[in-house]
């Protein structure tokens, strides 16, 4: 697994650069009839605030894996995030427009009330670009921090809190396995919209049985004494997925189950929930114009 991840780094970087996947800025809407625009997805306003974030990635101290530091994190600006995951029907519209690839056949669900599953990080970013073009608002994947903050009380601290010096590496493997097993639902069949209810921030189905892609890259960090970072290495071929437990998936994986390691618990499904950037001046101006002119 590790080998595969390393090998995929270069390819991933190239492809992501080519796709221009990150945080699209203002997008030109040229020659599209507004009637074809997708309905603006419902969003939830996440108010600014602060919380303790268990940093993503792997952390080493004295050459032994340790829990990631818990970092007091401020979310300065509020943001809007989709109330529901992108639906199968919405994703299908992107496919119909030729902007998204059809999801994995075995993962196809249909309808407005089913989440799109069987989608990779590439698919997720392609969808965000398409939706951005279609709606005139800027849509992007959340960062791990944004996702964790939006997940609120459903965000699971994945620290193992082991009382050991790390000389027995198996202790962490066993504890991780137990922890993830305890959190995973035995029934991964995608559920209809709203099945998992809303959290305290009114975000629906978050941390249900569909994990959501974030933009955050996998990192491995060596800690010096205390919590200071001594050195760290990113691997953006692997992205963080948010869910019942935090997952790390290669960017091209569409089925979390087969993207996992031999002895770990993999995400049940992979899906999409996007953050909506505040309207730019240009977009606000456009909205004032009669539809025909836009």
């Amino acid at each position: 697994m590790k080998l595969k991840v390393q090998a995929s780094m270069a390819i991933a970087a190239t492809m992501l650069a080519a796709a221009g996947a990150f945080a699209p800025q203002v997008v030109e809407i040229a020659g599209k009839a507004p009637a074809q625009m997708a309905a603006e997805p419902e969003t939830v306003a996440i108010a600014p605030g602060s919380f303790d974030l268990r940093l993503p990635g792997e952390f080493l101290k004295n050459d032994y894996p340790v829990d990631a530091p818990l970092q007091a994190t401020k979310v300065q600006r509020g943001f809007a995030i989709m109330k529901y995951q992108v639906s199968a029907a919405d994703y299908a519209r992107c496919v119909a427009d030729g902007a998204c690839e059809a999801p994995e056949a075995s993962a196809i669900t249909a309808g407005d009330d089913m989440p799109a599953t069987g989608v990779s990080y590439r698919d997720a970013t392609a969808y965000a670009a398409w939706l951005t073009e279609r709606t005139g608002a800027v849509w992007r994947l959340p960062t791990d921090t944004e996702w964790a903050f939006a997940a609120g009380e459903r965000y699971a601290d994945d620290a193992l809190l082991l009382d050991s010096n790390g000389s027995n590496p198996a202790e962490r493997w066993l504890a991780r396995y137990r922890s993830e097993t305890g959190k995973s639902e035995p029934d991964p069949e995608p559920k209809t919209r709203g099945h998992f209810g809303t959290n305290a921030k009114s975000v629906a189905d978050i941390a249900g049985n569909v994990w959501e892609w974030t933009t955050t890259c996998y990192t491995r960090t060596r800690l010096a004494d205390g919590a200071a970072k001594a050195e760290s290495l990113d691997n953006c071929g692997v992205r963080v997925v948010g869910g019942k437990h935090r997952g790390y998936m290669s960017y091209f994986i569409r089925d979390g189950k087969s993207g996992g390691c031999a002895a770990g618990m993999a995400p049940d499904n992979l899906g999409i929930r996007l953050v909506r950037e505040p309207d730019s001046l240009l977009a606000r101006f456009r909205k004032l114009l009669p539809a025909k002119v836009a």
């Binding site: 050459d63 590496p169 198996a170 066993l174 991964p188 060596r222 290495l233 031999a262």
Partner: protein, 372 residues
Amino acid sequence: MLTRREALLGTAAGTAGAVLLAAMAATPALAQVPAADIKSLPRQKVNLVAPPFVHEHEQVATGGPKVVEFQLTVKEQPVVIDREGTTMRAMTYNGSIPAPMMIVHEGDYVELTLVNPETNEMPHNIDFHAATGALGGGALTHVNPGEQVVLRFKATRTGTFVYHCAPEGMIPWHVVSGMSGTIMVLPRDGLKDGNGKQLTYDKLFYIGENDFYVPRDENGKYKSYETLGESYEETLNVMRGLIPTHVVFNGKVGALTGDNALKAKVGDKVLIVHSQANRDTRPHLIGGHGDHVWEQGKFSNAPAKDLETWFIRGGSAGAAFYTFLQPGVYAYVNHNLIEAAELGATAHIMVEGEWNDDLMAQVSAPGPIRAI
């Protein structure tokens, strides 16, 4: 408790009888015991246990041969075979896939009551690879819904053996629908390493591997059927392609992972019995070995030593003896890794204990590449 041998020696049978009996004990396969004598043997009724566990048993037999009674009830039922909820019209013995393991000793008599409840659709029977004659018992055990039958056979050969349903014309369908299990016939003096050294296991893990062939609809989704009869033709079409849609341990993708992962401790001696009634497979314990392996499963042959992967022929069961030396989460897989990772043939074993740095250590943790 008086053994049969003691009981008979205590009678007026005399020296000739004693000599005959001694010969019988040495070569139980060859001696024919009069029916009256079988009737006088001690009887033991065993309640079968669902896999991956097995019923309580002695590894070294105390006392002489006995008649061991088992009951299997055929259950035709829909079963979920993967995490997506794919439902197969299954046929099972006692409701589990694989069917429960029976354990006896060489020279014992297996007395099986096979029950086919009238709620079932199909006739069934049973073919024991451990038995001699009548198609392994298949010709003597045909039961229609609403019938039962009792078969007795003598366990004359030691080893792990498959048993399965074998009704004329439909054998493979019954087998790949779940109707197979394992019987283990232990030598009366237990397992040996090939040099006469006793091998005693602390735990036995019973892994049954199945290949399933589930038809798909025009959208590629797995189909489910209201009845067995309706599922037959399309299932047969998939079977004839010889490419399984699922290859699983213990009846379902993930049946032996997560909450159902197997458990052991460093130092535990484990016998893993792996049974596949239809198709070849190649078990491998990632990060471990087979210390002593009976690939063909037959204990009269010396076990192979230190295997990395072992080969179980379709239609047989094999046994691997291993002592866990390191803690961790082990994956036990069919080392056709596509079948393990994509089709389901993976089990996990959680092993607790102290790490042995001498066997393995991470000398330098992953970090940036330094000048070499």
